[in-house]
């Protein structure tokens, strides 16, 4: 059972999509099938969490030959790091299906199913070609969802995100191929397994170049400042479920990539880039925060806010001390929960008001108190309100930053301050103040409350009782990567 469980989690949605597609399932069956597959994966993931041994390192491994001539294997496995992301994906998908329950366009559902397979596969693969496969294929559903179901300049923006991301992927592919070749040269056999490639000795110069290939892909995905031009347009154009996945999962995958493959393959060389990345991350922190303050479109505003926080996570990873690492890993989870909730709220806002422009909102608090509560809660989580998970995580990263250098510490602490600034100002203008339209606004429905409550509960749990979660993560963090 355990041997196949990860593969089942990866491929269940894809198989469901193929099955439904071949059946030419009517909409109702399609919805039921998608929800069924997401709930089944969630159950499987719960099973994985129960069986997970925090001290066990990489587990649930499965190795199968795939393309033997080129030494490409199908190998998947799971450790604390991937467990965090896997849990997030499995948790968010049913909630997103609940969110889009009324969606009648079939392609939407198929894309979500494919997307789940893509992101899950990328999190679990331990073979670089396999990882590359999932890394690329998860882009396709996003491409279609933005381009077909998005708004604004959707065609242009979807093309932009695809081209920029693939530029990064291609540079990563080059590095992967070169490492495979070096392995071939030293051992006489081709292999692209993470553990095989980690054993090879690289000269400093080539190692620096190869690292750059990987880092470019991850920097674009995160995105670090300078590689971010796709971000705001894509977030602005994408439909809500796609935004949630992009911000909660895909951006995190960039960080995950640095962790898994950056540290896994080039532990030493990565330090060569530490000053560059830390500088970019610090600039990003401030730059994105300023852009978020001035932004009027809520989706774009939280795109920038997401960029700012991901820069903080990237910073934490490169600081390489246990506080910053722990904080980053924790922040991956809590920020994903908070931003998923926030983007869902923005989606709900759009459904209610047909606008996500701050200037056209206002005075919601009097009319829709439950809406206001959830909206404000998620916004404050993003700002790092004490008592929520984000606070714990940010605090850990900032402590880590102070440990490494006073200046970095001060600068990274500005994220919390600037986030407070734009969040509170935004809340003031959207929820309070004078209303711009006199029509009655429906408060949150039961379905919407059901969809948001798990996120709220988890955010509170992670904030109040971190001790529930830390034991899962600690052994691996102490063991280093």
């Amino acid at each position: 059972m355990n041997y196949h469980i990860l593969s089942s989690i990866i491929f269940l949605p894809l198989l469901m999509a193929i099955l439904l597609g071949v059946m030419r399932a009517p909409l109702k069956v399609l919805k039921a099938g998608a929800i069924l597959s997401s709930l089944t994966t969630l159950l499987l993931v719960v099973r994985v969490i129960i069986d997970f041994n925090p001290k066990g390192g990489m587990q649930f491994m499965q190795n199968l030959p795939w393309i033997q001539n080129a030494g490409i294997t199908y190998s998947v496995g799971l450790d604390a790091l991937s467990l965090v992301l896997l849990t997030l994906i499995a948790l968010l998908m049913p909630l997103l299906y609940l969110y889009m329950l009324k969606e009648h366009r079939k392609g939407y559902w198929y894309n979500m199913l494919l997307l789940q397979t893509g992101v899950t596969g990328a999190v679990l693969s331990l073979d670089l070609i396999l990882f590359y496969l999932f890394w690329e294929t998860m882009l396709l559903p996003i491409f279609v969802m933005i381009g077909k179901y998005g708004n604004g300049l959707r065609q242009y923006n979807s093309m932009k995100i695809v081209l920029m991301t693939i530029l990064g992927s291609m540079s990563m592919l080059f590095s992967i191929l070169y490492m495979g070749y070096i392995y071939f040269e030293t051992t006489g056999a081709w292999s692209f397994s993470l553990y095989d490639l980690a054993t090879i000795d690289l000269s400093t110069k080539s190692s620096i170049w190869l690292t750059a290939g990987f880092l470019l892909a991850f920097a674009i995905k995160i995105p670090l400042v300078g590689f971010h031009t796709w971000m705001a347009p894509a977030y602005g154009s994408a439909p809500t479920p796609a935004v949630v996945i992009m911000s909660a999962i895909m951006a995190k995958l960039g960080v995950y990539g640095i962790w898994r493959f950056g540290y896994g393959l080039f532990g030493g060389t990565l330090h060569y880039y530490t000053p560059t990345i830390i500088t970019l991350a610090l600039i990003g922190l401030l730059y994105y925060a300023i852009r978020a303050i001035t932004e009027k479109n809520l989706r774009k505003m939280f795109a920038y806010s997401s960029g700012s926080h991901l820069s903080l996570i990237a910073l934490g990873i490169f600081l390489s001390n246990i506080y910053a690492w722990g904080g980053s890993l924790y922040f991956i989870a809590t920020h994903a929960l908070a931003s998923a909730g926030m983007f869902m709220m923005i989606g709900i806002t759009y459904n209610r008001f047909r606008s996500v422009n701050i200037e056209q909102l206002g005075g919601i608090a009097q009319k829709a108190p439950i809406f206001t509560f959830f909206f404000a809660f998620f916004a404050l989580c993003i700002a790092g309100l004490p008592g929520t998970g984000g606070f714990v995580a940010e605090l850990l990263i900032i402590i880590g930053a102070f440990k490494s250098s006073f200046l970095v510490g001060i600068l990274s602490a500005t994220t919390m301050l600037s986030a407070m600034l734009y969040i509170f100002w935004m809340l003031q203008r959207t929820l309070f103040g004078a209303s711009h339209n006199e029509t009655k606004i429906a408060d949150l429905t039961l379905k919407e409350i059901a969809m948001l409550t798990p996120l709220v509960v988890l955010l509170l749990l992670t904030g109040i009782m971190p001790s529930l979660f830390i034991p899962y993560l600690e052994p691996q963090l102490l063991g280093g990567f």
Binding site: L64, P65, W66, I67, Q68, N69, A70, Y74, I129, Y132, L133, E136, T137, L140, F143, V144, G147, K148, R154, Q155, S158, M159, V162, L163, I166, L167, M170, S171, L173, F174, L177, Y178, G180, Y181, F184, W190
Partner: protein
């Protein structure tokens, strides 16, 4: 005695078929479908002979007492034969709708197609330069005629003139090269050339190098490498869809059959002379092809431009062979299979659409295609992804092997450039996907998926493209991604 004829049966049956079709073609009473079926019968017959004799006659020559060592039978040639035959079968199957929709097709079309196929089959078996030239010209002349097949259409005639004049000029170089080699070696069989080179320690081999370069000019012209590319886009555009498909897939493979045989066996020892020239041509081809493909507005012309880029990838493989990469030759063969499938598929869909309407098929005409024909759009997407080298398709593995070979042979920058042009190609392939899916349709829905020979064979190719990319060795009874490359390796080893 008669048994030695056995391996020759495939191309004899094609020749017979060509004559039969030619003789029948003056009869107006015979319908196109009957011609189609007749041609398919001979093709299947040839494929059958090819498969039962596969690997039985490795290294044999055809009637050495009569033909000397002009024709060789080995697995290398056999695999190429199979590819040509399957390519022609697909050309006929996929385009059966298109043939019906145009009134200018008649029996000669099938005869010409089989004649050109006969030329290609000879080409893959040719073990002597003049034989190779004759085979090449048999194939080319038929293709020239086919390109200009739509006589009343100006573009078609222009394309034919352009192709024929330039193609004949390029063919002359082959003869000149052969003459120069003959002047030095005193023979034109590949064996004696290889033998001469083997013993030519301190001898002057300038003539051979010059002759070999001339041969290469012809080869580069035929595959449309820059700077011999000026005909490609116009000719592909002017030719009827079935012929464009045939040229882009099958005919291009035939050229690589002879190129691989020449440069793997014949000139193996002096490959390094051409290395720099080849590398420069490769760089030009990759960049020039990308520019051509980006700037097109008609999808057919874009595919023509991109076929130049694909030639560039194949040339990367060729120069890797020159640098002694072991995996380069199988990589080229695998890439040929991969490109062949994707090209046949994508041109097949174009020809299917063309059979339904008379549009020029610019990018704009594809707007809302996914609404009109969801399955067709899905398959077109698969082919575009494969051409772009997106993982989980066979096109990705093709590029994977080519770039690995380039890196293995130390051509890091060339591999980098290849990967970069692959990135550029994402733009013009994804643009088509975007057009199909992201825009509303101007015309009504045509939901039903017409189940006929054309569409079913396109669907089969689409499945092959996916299976070739992800097929695992777990299902050992179906050859997957591994099976293709094993086949390619076997072919190269038989040389």
């Amino acid at each position: 005695m008669i048994l030695t004829l056995l391996p020759a049966l495939p191309f004899l049956s094609i020749l017979l078929g060509a004559f039969v079709l030619m003789l029948l073609s003056h009869k107006k009473s015979i319908s196109l479908e009957s011609f189609n079926v007749t041609a398919l019968f001979f093709l299947t017959l040839a494929l059958f002979f090819e498969l039962i004799t596969f690997g039985l006659h490795s290294g044999d020559y055809l009637y050495p007492s009569i033909f000397k060592n002009f024709f060789i039978f080995d697995e290398f040639a056999a695999i190429f034969d199979v590819m040509f035959l399957i390519g022609t079968i697909f050309t006929l199957l996929v385009n059966s709708d298109y043939l019906k929709s145009r009134n200018y097709f008649s029996g000669e079309y099938f005869a010409l197609l089989l004649f050109s196929l006969f030329g290609m089959l000879m080409l893959s078996h040719a073990h002597e330069l003049l034989t190779a030239f004759i085979a090449l010209e048999i194939a080319s002349l038929s293709v020239y005629a086919l390109v200009g097949y739509h006589k009343s259409k100006k573009v078609s005639s222009e394309a034919m003139m352009k192709y024929m004049v330039l193609g004949s000029l390029a063919g002359v170089f082959f003869i000149l090269g052969t003459a120069l080699i003959y002047a030095l070696v005193g023979s034109t069989t590949l064996e004696s050339i290889a033998l001469y080179l083997h013993n030519a320690e301190e001898k002057d081999i300038t003539l051979l190098v010059v002759g070999g370069s001339f041969l290469m000019v012809t080869i580069l012209f035929k595959i449309g490498a820059v700077p011999f590319h000026s005909w490609v886009v116009d000719v592909y555009h002017g030719a009827p869809y079935p012929i464009t498909m045939y040229m882009a897939s099958t005919f291009k493979i035939a050229i690589f059959a002879i190129a691989l045989r020449l440069y793997l066996v014949d000139f193996a020892t002096i490959n390094s002379f051409w290395l720099e020239m080849l590398q420069i041509v490769t760089i030009l081809t990759l960049i020039g092809g990308s520019f051509l493909a980006i700037s097109q507005t008609l999808v057919k012309r874009m595919l023509a431009g991109s076929s130049i880029v694909h030639s560039g990838y194949l040339l990367i493989g060729l120069s890797s062979i020159g640098l002694g990469s072991d995996i380069a030759a199988p990589a080229i063969m695998f890439y040929l299979i991969a490109y062949f499938l994707s090209a046949v598929g994508s041109f097949g869909i174009l020809s299917f659409i063309a059979s339904q309407s008379r549009r020029q098929m610019s990018y704009d005409d594809f707007k809302g295609f996914a609404n009109r024909r969801p399955y067709m759009a899905l398959m077109m997407t698969i082919f575009m992804l494969s051409l772009a080298g997106f993982p989980s398709t066979i096109g990705f593995l093709g590029k994977f092997y080519i770039f690995s070979a380039a890196i293995e042979s130390g051509q890091i920058l060339l591999a980098g450039l290849g990967i970069f042009t692959a990135f550029v190609s994402v733009y013009y392939y994804f643009k088509l996907i975007a057009m199909m899916y992201f825009y509303e349709s101007q015309t009504d829905k045509q939901k039903s998926f017409p189940l006929n020979v054309s569409t079913l064979s396109i669907a089969l190719i689409a499945l092959l493209v996916i299976w070739g990319g992800i097929g695992t060795s777990l299902l050992s009874f179906i050859p997957g991604a591994d099976g293709f490359i094993d086949l390619a390796k076997q072919a190269i080893n038989s040389l």
